[in-house]
Symmetry: C2
Subunit: 229 residues, 2 copies
DNA sequence: ACAAAAGTGTTGCTTTTACACCCATGG
DNA sequence: CCATGGGTGTAAAAGCAACACTTTTGT
């Protein structure tokens, strides 16, 4: 870091919009801040990027610290860099969204220093957020809306074995609209990327649905990287 | 900027992939560096973000310094933050692409301090680039490939008045494949977002083509923000 | 008159949409 | 036996893909 670079003091941070699907609801993980600025406000989980970690590594670490999970699907989607977005200085933040399967109980636990609380909150009940996190969240939602139409990201929100109805719920929640059941099933099954597990749902008090699994192998063969849900 | 933020020395920069369409070719603007590191290498135009400017402002400024143009269509698309991407320190760069109409002569002029030369180079002849600019450029191209299918960005590359053939050329160059003339025209005209100017091309030594203009008004009315070319 | 590009329709195929009832299961 | 969601087909409409020749203009 020689004399060409220096200019002024600045840092970068990562903010994550963690989406989780759970029993028919789409939620995001919010933390309640325990420090100034914005003490007691709800905010997206985030942190500063350390010296020796790349942006992706940083995002992975932050998510791990929050949830204890590794191998979660994450994707960077936008950098927010308004001059005054952080009251304490120049902080450019790079936003990631992550998609993960909530199995009922997977409540957030650790929670970093400056949070006193972390909660999964339905995307329809998101409160006012600290900093410019409202904007960050909205753009994240927009991104996955767009991406779910062309890439198989819905499966990241579901358990490994899922029913077609669950899959449809994910699409409906993300896209924010109802879909026709018959057409949806026809289309999904026609892609040939779902493996019928010859296995039924258990523990439901009605006719048990068939379980499916996303066939990644076939997907990559068939589509390379493109599809149109 | 109090005691909560400080961590280590870092800066952010902007790098731009400037796309230009000109006489049947899709080009990008590259500069030849005049300074270490990567002296004499070709690179994407870029610069450090100043203290009092947002990312968008910085991108706009950089583009202005290079081309003397304002009001150019630009869009941020990705932040690159590998630890070692810059040999002199921790530099996270935010990449933008810009689309602009080259009217034959609009050769780049000013060129910043650390460049000795700037040139429009056909996207098929892009040389090895400094830093991780190869990756940045490729991702930028990918982005516009995707975006041109859903948003009316092709018009940003064309003069205000253009022929259908020119429009088709833009699509073909960006997408990297030939399209059927009749189908293309049918589709475009059916959208109803092209205004027929009742005016013909001039100065060509063959049958003059009708000139059209993008009808932004109608576009926003009809599609809000979505379309499928 | 020729070279160069402009302009123009039809057909078959695929995809999308709209739509309603019976079935299996657990309580 | 009832409540709950599971599962299924068809027909009409729209959209997409393939395809070749005539027209206009300048030189």
């Amino acid at each position: 870091m020689k004399n060409t670079l220096p200019q002024f003091y600045s840092v970068f941070s990562i903010d994550c919009v963690l989406f989780g699907f759970d029993g028919g609801e789409l939620k995001i993980l919010l933390i309640e801040r325990n420090e100034e600025p914005f003490k007691d406000w709800w905010a997206l989980p985030g942190n500063l990027v350390a010296q020796d970690e790349s942006l992706d590594e940083s995002a992975t670490r932050i998510l791990y610290e929050l949830t204890g999970l590794k191998g979660v699907y994450m994707e960077q989607y936008y950098a927010f860099g308004d001059v005054d977005r952080h009251p304490q200085g120049r902080v450019v933040t790079v936003a990631y969204y992550a998609l993960l399967r909530l199995s009922g109980d997977k409540t957030p636990k650790p929670v970093s220093d400056f949070a006193k609380n972390a909660q999964w909150i339905n995307v329809n009940d998101v409160p006012k957020l600290a900093f410019d996190h409202q904007k960050i969240y909205e753009k994240g939602l927009e991104k996955i809306k767009r991406r779910i139409k062309h890439q198989p990201i819905a499966f990241e929100l579901l358990p490994e074995k899922f029913t077609l109805t669950q899959l449809q719920q994910v699409y409906e929640l993300v896209l924010g609209k109802k879909l026709d059941k018959r057409n949806f099933r026809k289309k999904m099954l026609n892609f040939g990327i779902l493996k019928d597990l010859d296995e039924k749902q258990k523990g439901v008090s009605f006719r048990a649905a068939t379980l499916y699994k996303f066939d990644k192998r076939k997907y990559t063969k068939l589509f390379g990287k493109e599809i149109s849900f």
